[in-house]
């Protein structure tokens, strides 16, 4: 019996135990009810605006899982949302509101791009070079995302600057600066679009199960692996215990030997690293080049909703990420099949977040399960 095998088994046991936990059950119920309620309101608005609500909902579903290529698109969005969702969850779990995942994601992807573009000419033009290139890109993305996350962490820990605001400002700054660098220095001669040149063909993830040029099951694998690692760290290591304890009750964490300032910086660094990794995946798997960040999807913001829906639990991020990936894919499908403006789906996501923020609403509405559950 290998350690890994026992590890996985006990992990599975723990997950099962968790799922039976009343407070987890309550959260699942709250998440489901919040989502259903938000969708219901969305459908009502659709109907009130003179569109066909039934068609709206059925297209939403078809667009997500209706056929193989829709499914691939949904899983692609889900992979990104799961990764960024875990990044958010790590920070929120430690009581730090990292709203800057989008910026860290942008910076991480940019670093990965730089690595690939500058190192590729130095390596033989063959598929073998993919391995060192991908490794380098990943490392750079982790480092850049981590550093860009650490910055607001330091500002909070040592200057008391509210991280909600600093991270939002840093999002704007990341997009602006990356755009400038890209347009000024990385745009190929003669091209108009602020895009870098295409990565070499061999840099990418093999499609495997799905024949999509922008989704590989390996991408989903990376996301799930990250989830497992983060879960293990949070649940099974002393560091994870420190982190989660800081989020629950900082004085107790401090009493038990945690340096609160350092913990903030570390948390933000880890969160930023995961966001950076998402950026690398985005550049490598989805784009295959890099572009103006202002045109990127707002994975980093949607991730907040994902994480909240999952009660900031890394395992819960997986179903939540799948749900939001589905909403995303369905929303896009609606965009080019129905007249209903697809922004509506963004609004529905906002409603889900709003409802998830107020569990008391559902408790008051009679969703009482046996235990009070915990509020953060």
């Amino acid at each position: 019996m290998s350690d890994a095998a026992t590890g996985v088994r006990s992990l599975a046991d723990r997950i099962a135990a968790r799922m039976l936990d009343a407070s987890v059950l309550e959260r699942v119920v709250i998440a489901l009810v919040a989502t259903a309620l938000a969708l219901l309101i969305g459908a009502v608005i659709v109907a009130a605006s003179g569109y066909d609500a039934v068609e709206f909902v059925s297209s939403l579903v078809y667009g997500a899982v209706g056929n193989v290529s829709n499914l691939a698109f949904m899983l692609r969005q889900s992979s990104m949302l799961i990764l960024t969702g875990v990044a958010v969850a790590v920070a929120f779990r430690a009581g730090v509101f990292n709203i800057g995942v989008q910026g860290q994601f942008v910076v991480g992807g940019f670093a990965a791009t730089l690595g690939i573009l500058f190192a590729a000419p130095l390596l033989p033009n063959s598929p073998v070079s993919a391995i060192p290139l991908l490794a380098l890109a990943t490392l750079l993305a982790l480092a850049a995302g981590g550093a860009y996350g650490a910055l607001p962490g330091v500002m909070k820990a040592y200057a008391g600057a509210n991280e909600v605001i600093t991270t939002i400002m840093l999002n704007f700054i990341a997009s602006g600066v990356v755009y400038f660098l890209l347009d000024a220095y990385l745009r190929p001669e003669g091209a108009a679009a602020p895009n870098t040149e295409q990565f070499p063909d061999y840099v990418g993830l093999p499609g495997l199960v799905f024949e999509s040029p922008s989704f590989s099951i390996l991408g989903l694998g990376v996301a799930l692996l990250t989830v497992v690692v983060v879960y293990l760290v949070m649940d099974r290591t002393g560091f994870g215990y420190d982190l989660v304890t800081s989020g629950y009750q900082e004085p107790a964490a401090k009493y038990s030997g945690v340096d609160p300032k350092r913990m903030i910086v570390r948390t933000m660094t880890i969160s930023g690293m995961i966001a950076g990794l998402a950026g690398a995946l985005f550049a490598i798997m989805i784009l295959g080049y890099y572009s103006d960040p202002n045109t990127f999807p707002t994975f980093g913001f949607d991730a907040i909703a994902v994480s909240l829906l999952a009660a900031n639990n890394p395992l819960g991020v997986v179903p939540a990420g799948l749900l939001f990936g589905g909403l995303d894919a369905g929303g896009q499908y609606i965009g080019f099949t129905l007249d209903v403006p697809s922004e509506l789906v963004d609004g529905v996501i906002g409603l889900i977040v709003l409802f998830v923020a107020a569990p008391e609403l559902f408790r008051a509405a009679g969703q009482h399960t046996s235990l009070g559950g915990d509020r953060e």
């Binding site: 605006s49 605001i165 609004g347 923020a357």
Partner: protein, 351 residues
């Protein structure tokens, strides 16, 4: 003791900085230095305009936070305000052209609609004890989604057609005063109105019983409760007020000094709600200081424009980041601003 001193000192630095700013501006205006190209009466006029939506939202947010509720949804309320203002003015006009009366009615409508939305938000926060940060973010998301959605339903695209805005009003006689006349008395009435609002907000907060209650609700709700005042009622009032003010700030953008609603990207509000939060932190929860801070951010915007106009060439994509960087510098510099101690905690009377 030292914190209190620090606070006082902080106030003084702020006032000092503002005085210095005004002095420099005056100097540049009246003396013919190279800087006089940079700071023109026109630039000041536009800085005052740019400060207006920020200041309105900031003063609202200040009241909410002072009473113990962090309304981080200001940006979202601004989006709704901008949209509703444009929509109501457009709908009122029907096929005809939009008149000044339509615009003013639209302003009132924005106040009402924002008030209703903010009441719902307040119920979630206060009665259902929603996490203030998360719920506030949700308001932003909802604004980002439903704002452009509603625009599409109304206008067939995420933006409205071009709309007229509130005319400037020239106050007879006063408008003739050099510089000041043009800045305040031959300007959009909204600029003047916002200054009046800032002064009134200051007086109410520090000179009336309601102001005392607001302060106590955020600092020690129990003390207020035992003094016989319903803490949550005070908080409801401030949260609704903050929503209304942010909504009006948004309306200023779309029909006050702007020309309709733009819903692409992060919408025309473009982060001003976030800057408003920083403005009242920088203003140390003092409505006058907050107005000054808003003006500073407005001036920052104008500075980067003026730099471009006089041909100091920095890439536009970089100068555009000035305000955001300024926010960071301000936050790191005055990060120790004393936040009311009960912010973020819901309050239940015992039993």
């Amino acid at each position: 003791m030292s914190t209190a001193r620090a606070l006082l000192d902080d106030q003084r630095t702020l006032v000092g900085a503002l005085v210095a700013l005004v002095a420099v501006i005056a100097l540049l205006l009246f003396v013919d230095l190279p800087g006089s190209d940079l700071v023109t009466v026109g630039a000041l006029e536009r800085a005052l305009q740019a400060a207006t939506p920020i200041a309105l939202a900031a003063i609202g947010g200040l009241y909410a936070e002072k009473s113990g509720v962090f309304n981080i949804g200001l940006e979202g309320f601004m989006i709704f305000g901008a949209l509703v203002g444009a929509a109501v003015a457009w709908l009122l006009a029907g096929d005809g052209s939009i008149t000044q009366a339509h615009l003013w009615v639209a302003f009132v409508a924005v106040a009402v609609v924002s008030g209703v939305l903010a009441t719902l938000f307040a119920v979630l926060l206060i009665r259902y004890e929603a996490n203030q940060i998360v719920a506030g973010l949700a308001v932003w998301f909802i604004g980002l989604g439903f704002g452009p959605f509603a625009a599409t339903v109304l206008w067939g695209g995420v933006s409205s057609p071009s709309l007229p805005n509130i005319d400037t009003i020239a106050v007879p006689v006063l408008a003739e005063i050099p510089v000041l006349g043009r800045l305040f008395f031959d300007a959009s009435p909204l600029v003047l109105l916002t200054i009046v609002v800032a002064v009134a907000a200051w007086a109410v907060l520090f000179r009336t019983r309601y102001g005392y209650w607001v302060q106590a609700a955020g600092e020690n709700p129990e003390a207020l409760d035992t003094a016989g005042i319903d803490v949550n009622r005070v908080r409801y009032a401030t949260v609704v007020f903050s929503g209304v003010m942010a909504g009006l700030g948004g309306a200023v953008l779309s029909i006050g000094i702007g020309s309709g609603f733009t819903g692409t990207g992060v919408t025309m509000v473009d982060g001003r709600g976030w800057i408003a939060i920083v403005a009242y932190l920088f203003g140390n929860y003092n409505p006058l200081g907050t107005y000054g801070a808003s003006l500073l951010f407005g001036a920052m915007d104008m500075l980067q424009i003026q730099l471009q106009t006089i041909g100091i060439s920095l890439p536009g994509s970089i100068t555009g980041l000035f305000p955001y960087v300024a926010v960071l510098v301000v936050l790191v510099g005055v990060g120790y601003t004393r936040v009311p101690s009960a912010v973020g905690e819901s309050y239940d009377t015992e039993e």
